[in-house]
């Protein structure tokens, strides 16, 4: 597989506005994406995943490290060379409505592309190109052309934005939470669309916090936590055999349709978050433990049962500028060494 994008020890520092020194949003993140591959970047809020996406799209700059596209450092691009880069790399974001300028019609997003890249194309050929792109995303041109953004549904808006990216014959798509604001019944259609595009050679950096989506579409998964990679590898391997406690906690916390959340068996399974653990909260005279009624419902409310509660807290380590190194635990499967 030909490598399309290579992210090499990228770090991003922000100066904190509330005082207390620079906050590292990204810490020495490294991985690559090849043609026809979907790499899912999974992380919770504060993980830096959106920042990384913006760096790849040249909407933000890295403090250190390099991002190379086809072997060239993208931070050196400017002017025409940057425009050339955008011919190969495009992005779609979380809130479809915000990506449209509300005072113009929705298809102006196509016009924007035209003036920069297809200025010399005669109008009929441009029309054909637009219609082909719309069909590729399963949109009926009659339904969407000429409309204002607020007249389209979220799913249509998002597909239109993907169609815009496809006009350019791109090689890498950065998809940042592109379906989290869509209705559940349309999400999987967009995911299926992405897989179809991947099959025709497009590389996709799929950024999400939703593990079930990540599992569905991706070939490789990178788990990001507070700016550093904690685990990465083949999706099936990472989800099936998670080696880092954080990955295990994430998987344990995912709500599933056919399985209840497992009770944490021991302290080691408590999750990570931003507060100290409070498992012993119930110590102060809460009433005698009572069993559940026969049908699983709790007994009369005055005698609450004592349940071991999932406590999503352990004290967080300070964000070290140089995160723990990644060690290999299997073919292509890397895990961060700190097992805090």
């Amino acid at each position: 597989m030909t490598s399309v994008l290579s992210i090499d020890r990228v770090s991003k520092l922000y100066s904190s506005s509330l005082g207390g020194g620079p906050v590292p949003a990204l810490r020495q993140v490294s991985f690559g994406i090849s043609a026809g591959e979907v790499v899912t970047l999974i992380g919770e809020s504060g993980s830096g995943k959106t920042t990384l996406g913006r760096i790849v799209l040249r909407l933000a700059s890295a403090t250190s490290g390099r991002v190379t596209f086809d072997g060239q450092d993208i931070s050196a691009f400017s002017g025409p060379r940057l425009r050339e880069y955008y011919r190969h790399v495009q992005g779609v974001f979380q809130d479809p409505f915000s990506s449209y300028n509300p005072i113009y019609r929705a298809d102006r997003v196509f016009e924007l592309v035209r003036s920069s890249y297809f200025g010399n194309l005669p109008p009929p050929q441009w029309q054909d190109k637009i219609e082909a792109a719309l069909h590729a995303v399963a949109l009926n041109p009659g339904d969407v052309l000429g409309r204002y953004p607020h007249q389209l549904s979220g799913g249509q808006q998002q597909r239109l934005l993907i169609a815009r990216a496809l006009l350019l014959n791109i090689r890498l798509l950065v998809a940042d939470e592109i379906i989290s604001m869509l209705d559940a019944s349309t999400r999987v259609d967009i995911l299926n669309l992405l897989v179809g595009l991947k099959r025709s050679g497009l590389a996709i950096l799929f950024i999400t916090h939703d593990l079930s989506l990540g599992h569905y579409v991706s070939d490789r998964t990178v788990i990001l936590r507070r700016g550093a990679i904690v685990e990465m590898g083949d999706t099936v391997e990472v989800f099936g055999n998670p080696r880092h406690p954080y990955t295990r906690d994430l998987l344990a916390a995912v709500p599933e349709l056919h399985k209840k959340w497992r009770r944490p068996a021991d302290k080691a399974e408590t999750g990570h978050g931003d507060l100290p653990a409070r498992d012993d909260v119930l110590a102060s005279g809460e009433g005698t433990p009572a069993g559940n009624a026969a049908d699983g419902r709790p007994a009369a409310p005055s005698v609450p049962p004592r349940r071991a509660r999932w406590s999503a807290r352990t004290p967080l380590p300070v964000r070290a500028l140089v995160p723990p190194p990644l060690i290999s635990v299997g073919p292509g499967h890397l895990v961060a060494e700190d097992l805090a």
């Binding site: 019944s185 989506l213 569905y216 579409v217 999706t235 709500p255 599933e256 999750g271 349940r307 999932w310």
Partner: protein, 318 residues
């Protein structure tokens, strides 16, 4: 003691006419029950939840009644509802964690609430402290401003504030949506715990996320385009749904462990109908693979198996 909603209809005015996001809705919620209210955008679920506690100036109560603990809730009369709010019915609105007054410390928010209900702070202070610890926060949070807290912490604070006066019914609107998956679980379990400890008697959890309801809810109600489509216990809705919308919806949800190559997940084509101009008969008709001529008359929302209500002509219990 429980909740009973009977043929409730609520509309609101727009420039292009009246829109009816709650159209002849009836359901009971038993004591100690957590009922999940699921639906997608345009289903009316948020309006249904909010209308049980507050109807703003644009909204109109068209008909039907709401009973709580044997007494009628005067939802159409905002002033008459005031003594019931927070003490009998309480709401955690959508985006509540972003709606905390940023210029007030948490302590002040709580004391404002207590004062407006004539409760002296001293009386509830010990209980408040216990509950703060229960939700996994420490007392220092009282002296912080909302912006100093993370999303998960803010959500717990709103949970705390909304249930401080032990309401009989808690309506939680998308309380887990904007949270990280681990905080989602913590908040979800807190909802269960609050019910178990009797801080609230019953709960209506409004969300679009069926998998959260599968963890938290005892029963699930599916809402589509202003009307109820299906209601049954959680296990029945998830494992053996009868309404085509529920079936198609469940068939479109990716889960961990499911890969594209192994499955044939498909979304539901089309869009929900506009509530300003809903179609005749069953509102899911246009997108339903089982639609036939009878669907042009509205199917009644009726019990087809014990505890299992469906609004579909084709619903035949297994």
């Amino acid at each position: 003691m429980s909740v009973k909603v009977d043929h409730l209809s609520v509309a609101y005015r727009t420039r292009s006419g009246d829109v009816c996001p709650v159209d002849d809705v009836s359901f009971p919620v038993a004591d100690g029950e957590i009922m999940g209210l699921a639906g997608e955008s345009g289903s009316g679920k948020s309006t249904l939840g909010t209308s049980l506690i507050y109807l703003d100036a644009r909204m109109k109560h068209l008909g039907g009644l709401v009973e709580l603990d044997g007494g009628k809730l005067p939802i159409a009369d905002s002033r008459a509802m005031r003594p019931h709010r927070m003490t009998d019915v309480s709401l955690i609105p959508q985006y509540a964690m972003s709606a905390l007054n940023p210029t007030r410390k948490i302590r002040r928010l709580i004391s404002d609430l207590l004062r407006s209900h004539g409760v002296r702070e001293r009386e509830v202070m010990t209980e408040l402290r216990r509950r703060i610890a229960l939700v996994g926060l420490d007392e220092g949070v009282l002296d912080r401003y909302p912006f100093e807290l993370s999303g998960g912490m803010r959500q717990r604070v709103t949970l705390l504030i909304s249930t401080l006066l032990n309401p009989s019914l808690l309506i939680a609107d998308e309380v887990t949506s904007a949270l990280d998956v681990s905080t989602q679980r913590a908040v979800g379990e807190l909802l269960i715990e609050f019910r178990d400890r009797g801080f609230v008697k019953s709960m209506i959890a409004i969300t679009h996320d069926l998998s959260i309801l599968a963890q938290v809810a005892d029963s699930i109600v599916i809402m589509y385009a202003g009307r109820l489509a299906e209601k049954a216990s959680t296990r029945v809705v998830i494992d053996a749904p009868l309404h085509p919308y529920t079936q198609l919806l469940l068939a479109s949800l990716p889960e961990v462990g499911v890969l594209y190559d192994q499955s044939a997940l498909v979304g539901i084509p089309g869009r929900p109908p506009s509530l300003a101009d809903p179609p005749e008969g069953c509102r899911f008709r246009a997108r339903c693979p089982f639609a036939f001529d009878r669907c042009t008359t509205t199917p009644p929302f009726e019990e087809v198996a014990p505890g299992h209500y469906v609004a579909c002509w084709k619903a035949v219990p297994a």
